[in-house]
Amino acid sequence: MSDFDAGVRLVYLAAAVCFVVGLHLMGSPTSARRGNLLSAAGMAAAVLATFAVVAHEGTITNTGTIVLVLALLVGGAAGLVTARRVQMTAMPQLVSLFNAVGGGAAALVALDDFLRLSDGPGVPTRTGVATALDVGIGALTFAGSLVATGKLQGVVTGRPVVFPGARALNAALLLVAVAAGVVVVADDNVPLLLLLLAVGLVLGVTLVLPIGGADMPVVISLLNACTGTVVAMAGFVLENPVLIIAGALVGASGAILTVLMAQAMNRPIRNIVLGGFGGGGSVEVVAS
């Protein structure tokens, strides 16, 4: 390992420390804002170190550079403007939207890596497993979070949407997803990975639609934890430690937070996730 690589790994470690300490500080009202700033500083360090890696390796094409800069500007501006402009009461659906794009990005990262590997040297089993999990759950969180956003925004009805055979349909879809995932791992099969992506998207919709609008904050927290796990899987695909650490951290703390939120609302998680019980779209509850 060269000095440069070691330096980058140390910056990633520092970023991971900032995330952990920042998250800890965010658990108390007096230090919460400082915690968020510390976590943001860690993020900035990790991203800058990655830019240094890209410049150092020099494999990026000219078109690639333009694509990268344009995407950073477009995405950064979109996030900044929406976050600044949004009404205070509309914040939960915005968080859900950011969660959706995060999950989508992680799924696309794994998909792109898989396409490249299956085109050339072949996909090792460990990468295949991480890719299948990443793409399947990533697509699910993407679609599910968008539906949650729609419910809170009033684009999708806040009432639980239940139709006959929904449970059976979900179970069948899940089976298809698992089967496709197994073949993807065993056989480097690109069409089946795309099928897995599609099934994940459909499952995201059919799993969140039956849940009432009042339960959305808990669902968003759960999907947030899922995205964390997905990002950790993307870390396994790319063999990148900072993705693994931050993803696992968010996955686990998000799961705990989901339990805490459900307890605070006096609703057993099982009832929420199975859906069909929650009341109408009383979005106001959310703003607390």
Binding site: L68, V95, L111, I244, A255
Partner: protein
Amino acid sequence: MSEQLLSDVTVFVLAVLVGFEVIGKVPSTLHTPLMSGTNAIHGVVLVGAVLIASTADDALSYVLAFVAVAFAAMNVTGGYVVTDRMLGMFRRRRDPVPVKEQRP
């Protein structure tokens, strides 16, 4: 199992344990900001998206890289800004209001 995979799994498991422990007792008013804050942290997928963009060399991979980087960048910037706004609102509301002491 390669050495790389073994060390990745080790890091993953330890990070999960840290994640379980790092937030303990949280007042319910902090639930939404904390959700938003963790949401911003998983925007670290931007690192992965940038690495993907650095190896892209055909039309499809450029498109995938563009969407992935734009999505992740939105997650990061938006996530941190909106969390900061929430916490700012929170602090202002919690500022101690000067109360005139009324003693007989």
